[in-house]
């Protein structure tokens, strides 16, 4: 497999995040190149999810900055991140439980909707056309993820694996340039994991989407990612291709707890 990457589109510089007395992240820097699949791994509590939350502005780091396509963000917020083309999925599925699969994925189109409340209230002209055009886009996502049969089902009734897929669908409907996946395969059986891997690789391959993912399944991480960052206790202890990381003594000791 010969993969082509572009420039670094996302660059994190010296990010530190503190909650009260707890240092969640300490002086972390790494970059993400366009079109690559970048994994963040580490033991529980290493700060992986905090890292994603910093990237899309849910948490504000005390120090450091985020450079996205050459633009500097000292203070990111979720809205700015979404506008800049970052979308994400959640570790504990954060779908809108009362809404159908279609409506959940339609919310992903929210930023692309231009008509105002009054036009929508009378369901007329531009509002109606826009709604139907977005529906067509959403159906493409539904086809891509092979969830046609459940499109009208309220997501609360779906099994876990399918909910994860809808979560991915909602993120994809934003047509992101960077997709953050927080443990997309947690709690899945082997077949579901294989399906999810296939979707992630296809998204990366067909749409050229850059992917940053957190995952505990080492087999999956080593197979699909191009480069891996390793965190432990909020510090970066390793960075490189899967093979380099696997051979790194510090990483091995963090995972196996070997004494120095």
């Amino acid at each position: 497999m010969n993969r082509q990457f572009g420039e670094a589109i996302l660059d994190l510089k010296n990010v530190s995040l503190v909650f009260g007395g707890v240092k969640a992240l300490t002086d972390i820097s790494f970059d993400v190149r366009e079109h690559e699949i970048r994994a963040i791994i580490g033991p529980n509590g290493a700060g992986k999810s905090s890292m994603l939350n910093v990237i899309n502005g849910v948490y504000r780091p005390q120090q450091g900055e985020i450079i996205l396509r050459g633009r500097h963000f000292a203070r990111m917020n979720p809205y700015k991140a979404a506008k800049a083309g970052i979308s994400r999925t959640f570790q504990n599925i954060a779908l809108f439980k009362g809404m159908s699969v279609i409506d959940n994925i339609m919310t992903g189109r929210n930023l692309k909707i231009g008509t105002n409340l009054l036009l929508q209230a009378i369901w007329w002209g531009p509002a109606r056309r826009e709604e139907l055009a977005h529906r067509a886009k959403v159906e493409e996502v539904i086809d891509f993820l092979e969830i046609q049969h459940i499109r009208k089902t309220p997501v609360g009734r779906l099994p876990y694996g399918l909910q994860k897929r809808v979560d991915l669908g909602r993120a994809l409907a934003m047509e992101p340039s960077i997709l953050l996946l927080d443990e997309p395969m947690a709690g899945m059986n082997v077949e579901e994991k294989q399906d999810m891997c296939r979707f992630i690789l296809d998204v990366n391959d067909q749409f050229g989407t850059t992917i940053v993912l957190i995952e505990h399944d080492m087999g999956v991480v080593m197979d699909i990612s191009d480069r891996v960052v390793v965190l432990d206790y909020g510090r970066k202890i390793g960075d490189g291709t899967p093979d380099e990381v696997r051979a790194d003594p510090e990483v091995i000791s963090a995972y196996l707890g070997a004494s120095h």
Binding site: V58, K83, R88, L95, F96, T107, R135
Partner: protein, 358 residues
């Protein structure tokens, strides 16, 4: 067997996104609306109009508004009565202070004023949620109670604090008989219900529901909580305020602040909880349940007593009415916490498969 969508193939997203995608539903609703406009005025007597139908229509409109805020956007409010009061008194002031302002304009301006006040009292929702927000909205209730009782300007210096309107006409059509009042309110309700349905199936409705279901995820998708919450407060207060203006102008004709007390706020909240949170249909069910049931019990209980040779005193009837009503509410909340609307949709799903179990 009759209620089935077999053979109704949809070939466009427009057809799939209709309000009633199933043909039988469309015809049934059309028939009901036509009957409400044409059949009811011919069949019903004056008492029913005044005691049941007109209050039902107006309170259903207010319940729609409350449901948008509580059911769709998930922001609990105990201030619905306050927004009805703002709508009613604002419409009154526009009506008496601006010469020759058409009645329709007064009512809608009342609604708009209520929307502005609603946005103001919605600001705490950006910081607090759940029960704390309910307490914050209660402030709106006590504030308006006080303002309309104590500031004489709002009641045109009426000594008793009571205001009245008369000689209502719209484009030469005098609204004085119960039938004309009924038709006027029905027209309002029909149009507003359609607007509410459209909003809730469109982008703005999805924003509200996203905030209700999972606000962090909504923000990450690019929904601004500020806009979503305050727009819900605005639209909801507009509906409730317009209903308040209708309640004052059309139903009561002369009213004082007590007409929009905190009891009214609770009544409206119960309507949407019993009818079904997050359902347009539920607002109608809830309003019907709360308006019609007490009166129906009132008529029915003495007859039931007579059947067993027991005569019930008037006081006994009104006590029994409250007891039965309370018991029914508890029964509904235990059997179906999602309200009558959920029972209705479960029933429809069963009917589509009938006579087969799956």
């Amino acid at each position: 067997m009759l209620y089935r969508e077999n053979g109704q193939f949809k070939t466009s997203y427009a057809a799939d996104q209709q309000i009633f995608p199933i043909a039988q539903d469309r015809w049934a609703i059309l028939a009901i609306v036509a009957f409400a406009f044409v059949g009811v005025p011919l069949l019903v007597d004056e008492y029913l109009f005044r005691a049941i139908l007109i209050p039902f229509l107006i309170l259903a409109l207010a319940a729609l508004g409350v449901n948008i805020l509580v059911g769709f956007c998930g922001q609990i409010t105990l201030g619905a009565g306050a927004f009805m009061a703002v709508g009613a008194y604002a419409a009154y002031n526009f009506h008496i202070r601006i010469e020759d302002l058409p009645l329709l304009m007064s009512l809608l301006l009342g609604g708009l004023t209520s929307a502005v006040v609603g946005i103001f009292f919605g600001i705490p929702s950006l910081r607090v949620r759940g029960l704390y927000l309910a307490v914050a909205t209660l402030a709106a209730q006590f504030f308006t109670d006080w303002v309309f009782l104590r500031v004489p300007w709002f009641t045109d210096n009426a000594a008793s604090g009571s205001v009245s309107v008369s000689n209502l006409r719209i484009m030469g059509w005098q609204i004085d008989t119960p039938v004309s009042k009924y038709l006027f309110c029905l027209a309002f309700l029909t149009i507003f219900a359609l607007l509410a349905k459209n909003m809730t199936r469109c982008a703005i409705g999805r924003q509200w529901m996203a905030i209700r279901d999972m606000d962090v995820a909504a923000e990450v998708i690019g929904i601004r909580p500020l806009f979503a919450k305050l727009s819900a407060f605005a639209v909801s207060s507009f509906f409730v305020g317009t209903a308040g203006a209708l309640w004052g102008f059309i139903h009561l004709a002369s009213w004082e602040p007590a007409a929009f007390s905190v009891d009214r706020s609770f009544q409206l909240l119960f309507m949407v909880i019993i009818g079904g949170l997050g359902s347009i249909m539920g607002s109608f069910f809830g309003a019907a349940f709360i308006v019609i049931l007490p009166i129906a019990l009132n008529q029915f209980l003495p007859a039931l007593g007579g059947l067993f040779g027991v005569s019930i005193s008037t006081a006994g009837v009104s006590h029994a009415e409250l007891i039965t009503f309370g018991a029914l509410i508890i029964f509904f909340l235990i059997k179906e916490p999602h309200g009558i609307a959920r029972l209705w949709s479960t029933g429809k799903e069963k009917l589509r498969l009938w006579p087969f179990p799956h």
